[in-house]
């Protein structure tokens, strides 16, 4: 009984740890002080400013768009790859693992400049496409590692059995592997989405004037101080995310009752 309490306390503590800075910024989104270090009274003016700040809202929308596309594509490529790496012995296996490691290890700035150079050589115009390619690239290793670790230790005999029963590779993938890998796939999508949403250095080099993303906007404010509008924006985004969680939970519940 005691042990159960201890583990609940642990959960609670970790959530407090994760959410304290978030509560601070939510508080500051209503703080009249621009610097958010002292409480200067309640205000909603940052929300009003945000509402009229089209470029900031557009950048937020662009960021979410990129993050959704990049993480979905990275998850598709990475999951297929992880499954292939797990199932088959083939020549390029070490080569692929090596390149994945290189991506993980490359400092942001190195990836940024080398990708920029590549895009120049390929003659691609900087914008949505180049940004998407770059984000997919740095998300892939996170997907492969997460999915692969879930699959390893998994009994290959089931796959063999499937094959013996005449299932095609695609069927085996869909009917056996995907259900097993599902938690890892979801986890890696979430990780990729997070990475993409937050990238500054790579994005600043591989995007053009036509496609501005949020982190770039925010980091370029440091010189005069980050505007509390950003706190207001973050608060909105958190509220939207949390309402998604609640909605999903409710849908889940009604599914079960059917």
């Amino acid at each position: 009984m005691l042990k159960r309490h201890i583990s609940k306390v642990l959960l609670l503590l970790v959530y407090i740890y994760l959410y304290t800075p978030i509560f601070i910024l939510i508080g500051n989104s209503f703080n009249a002080s621009k610097y958010g270090l002292k409480w200067n009274g309640f205000t909603t003016k940052w929300y009003e400013l945000l509402w009229n700040n089209d470029t900031l809202l557009q950048a937020a929308f662009n960021s979410i768009t990129i993050a959704v596309f990049a993480s979905s594509i990275a998850v598709a490529i990475g999951t297929l790859g992880a499954v292939a790496l797990f199932k088959h012995q083939f020549k390029g296996k070490k080569f692929i693992s090596g390149l994945l490691f290189v991506v993980m290890m490359s400092p942001d700035i190195v990836m940024a400049i080398s990708l920029l150079a590549l895009f120049i050589i390929l003659g691609l115009e900087l914008g949505f496409v180049t940004l998407l390619i770059s984000h997919i690239t740095f998300c892939i290793p996170f997907v492969v590692i997460t999915v692969y670790s879930r699959l390893s230790n998994f009994d290959n005999a089931i796959l063999e059995a499937g094959k013996d029963l005449g299932a095609t590779e695609a069927t085996i993938f869909k009917r056996i592997i995907l259900p097993i890998a599902k938690p890892a796939i979801i986890a890696s999508w979430l990780l990729s989405f997070t990475l993409s949403l937050d990238d500054v250095i790579v994005s600043s080099f591989v995007t053009g004037p036509s496609f501005e993303v949020l982190p770039l906007k925010i980091y370029s404010m440091v010189k005069v101080g980050v505007s509390p509008e950003v706190n207001a924006l973050a608060t909105m985004m958190i509220l939207i995310s949390i309402s998604f969680v609640i909605a999903a939970a409710l849908i889940n519940k009604s599914d079960k009752s059917v």
Binding site: S33, K34, Y35, L37, K38, N40, L49, N52, N53, T55, F61, T65, V68, F69, I113, L116, A117, I120, E125, L126, F128, V200, I201, S204, F205, G208, P209, S210, E212, L216, K217, I218, Y219, S220, M221, V222, K223, V224, G225, V226, S227
Partner: protein, 346 residues
């Protein structure tokens, strides 16, 4: 799953229709918050020229990007002081036609024609500022602070804020030793390095965002600070102030410049001229909290802002300080020494 598909369709549609309907477009590459909200749409209403505003987080990354990607697509950038002279030297900028700028006359002559761009043929001053000594007078007697050497006092062990900028930090030592802050002389730099080594034990933080924060938060009471940040900090805590050291402060200027491959150069000149209007320049200065180089705009600003000696130091103080210009190959000496200094306390 269906919901997901619908979402993707919506996003795709939004992307397709977001392309503009304007004939002329200018791509303006700047710091965020350097333009008050709504200002650029006023320009668009007036001229029919659309301005796409994108932002960078440091001069260094702006430079690296423009240097590599020469079809850069940016029509107007805002480099700080010595990046103007560097980019000019490397043929990355094009000349600005002063005849097309009816409002050029509004600029303060004492801030024009500086060493980094004599005659201002490549740069139009936009916002300027100074780096001096930040003091929290709640704990420190203001009269006791007069010189950069005050930072070296051993009583500040582990307590100072320095700006995270090699040139600004060498500025202090070079000025104390009576040299130019733009020196390219190796022995002078070596001497300055030796002096700075003695300063390092006093350093708490090399600050890379606005220095107002650590002063307001009470993390630091003494160190370097920018004049605009001081003004901002004073709104929160009136004890915070800035001293212009007797050896001379650091001055910097963020200027409008046109990259070599800019298109729509005529439209860009129109935008520059718009930004030089007194009422526009005044609005910008108030938004950022830094001094404007626009004399005509000063008349439109609130009295307390204009009369603040920290924001607008007198001509003598400006003359005593120094603007940084490009030091060419010597830059690497500054940066390599700085690298060593930062790792000294590791």
């Amino acid at each position: 799953m269906n919901m997901f598909k619908t979402a993707i369709k919506c996003v795709a549609a939004a992307l397709l229709f977001s392309s503009s309907a304007y004939a002329t477009t200018i791509n303006f590459y700047n710091w965020s918050e350097y333009i008050p909200p709504g200002l650029l749409s006023r320009f668009t209403e007036e001229t029919g020229i659309k301005v796409v505003y994108s932002t960078y987080e440091s001069n260094e990354s702006m430079y690296a990007k423009l240097k590599t990607y020469d079809k850069n697509g940016y029509d107007l950038v805002v480099p700080s002081t010595y990046f103007i002279s560097k980019m000019k030297k490397e043929d990355m900028l094009q000349e600005i036609d002063h005849n097309k700028l009816t409002n050029y006359k509004n600029l303060d002559p004492s801030l024009l024609n500086k060493e980094y761009d004599l005659g201002n043929r490549y740069s139009i001053p936009y916002i300027w500022g100074a780096t001096g000594i930040g003091v929290n007078t709640a704990d420190i007697d203001l009269a006791s602070v007069t010189s950069w050497t005050d930072l070296w006092d051993p009583k500040w062990k582990g307590q100072l804020l320095l700006t995270d900028d090699a040139r600004e930090i060498f500025h202090m030592a070079l000025k104390i030793q009576g040299h130019s802050a733009n020196t390219q002389d190796e022995t002078e730099l070596a001497q300055a390095y030796e002096l700075l080594k003695e300063l390092m034990p006093n350093v708490l933080v090399f600050n890379s965002d606005t220095p107002a924060n650590p002063y307001i938060a009470g993390e630091v009471e003494f160190g370097m600070i920018w004049n605009g940040s001081t003004y901002m900090a004073q709104q929160e805590d009136s004890d915070i102030t800035m001293v212009y050291p007797k050896e001379g402060a650091v001055f910097w200027m963020d200027s409008l410049a046109i990259p070599k491959n800019a298109k729509n150069v005529d439209a860009v000149h129109k935008l520059i001229d718009f930004l030089l209007r007194p009422e526009v320049a005044a609005e910008v200065a108030l938004e950022i909290g830094y001094p404007t180089p626009n004399s005509a705009a000063k008349k439109l600003l609130p009295k307390e802002f204009i009369e603040n000696k920290i924001i607008f130091p007198d001509a003598e103080t400006i003359a005593n300080g120094e603007f940084h210009s490009d030091v060419g190959e010597a830059n690497i000496i500054y940066e390599r020494y700085y690298e060593k200094l930062k790792a000294q306390n590791l």
